[in-house]
């Protein structure tokens, strides 16, 4: 069983489109995250979310929005896609008290 699963694995889309990436975890963790890995492989947190609080990295454009229908899911919606949004997006989850993080396998987004 995959602990943190993301879909799709690859996403190619045109500028200006709106797209979503789904993430599900079956670990019973209480917090989920989205990270962006740019073309230089630099990883930066975008959001963290538990049932009580959404923490947004202030550098993330408001075209990006996380949606959590329940504790096991944190989807990423992106509006009006731009070329600079091309990157690999990783979902992760953790149980905050144990500080153990598990990452999904990533979604490679290409905006053309």
């Amino acid at each position: 069983d995959t602990a943190v699963s993301q879909t799709p694995k690859y996403l190619v889309t045109q500028m200006g489109n709106d797209k979503s990436i789904k993430c599900e975890q079956n670990l019973g963790h209480d917090t989920m995250y989205w990270y962006k890995q740019d073309s230089k492989k630099f990883l930066k947190i975008m959001f963290s979310y538990n049932n009580k609080e959404l923490i947004i990295n202030e550098t993330v454009p408001n075209r990006f929005s996380p949606k959590s229908p329940d504790k096991a899911h944190l989807n990423l919606h992106i509006n009006s896609l731009e070329l600079g949004d091309s990157a690999v997006y990783f979902c992760a989850s953790s149980q905050v008290l144990t500080r153990g993080y598990t990452f999904g396998s990533g979604t490679r987004l290409t905006v053309v």
């Binding site: 995250y33 990883l43 930066k44 947190i45 992760a92 500080r99 153990g100 993080y101 598990t102």
Partner: protein, 112 residues
Amino acid sequence: AQSVTQLDSHVSVSEGTPVLLRCNYSSSYSPSLFWYVQHPNKGLQLLLKYTSAATLVKGINGFEAEFKKSETSFHLTKPSAHMSDAAEYFCASGGGADGLTFGKGTHLIIQP
């Protein structure tokens, strides 16, 4: 605020020789520290983590790291490199709902 500095963007070693990947951290409190490995076009795999227990941490695949508070370092070592160790390695700091702060990565090259 936390920050992580990986001192080498690239490290090249011969197969069978020791590996040393350097990481310094900056934190206003005692941090949790992590090493992750990313093989080409793959996700992030946890090698090991330090969470204020033993300062010498053993991980998977023969890797270990030593937490040195006086030097604010958490260097990753392996006694004997294998070709399969060629990958990108990330040091990270953090814990809790704020997620992880990553270094910029070290690309490990293994020469035959």
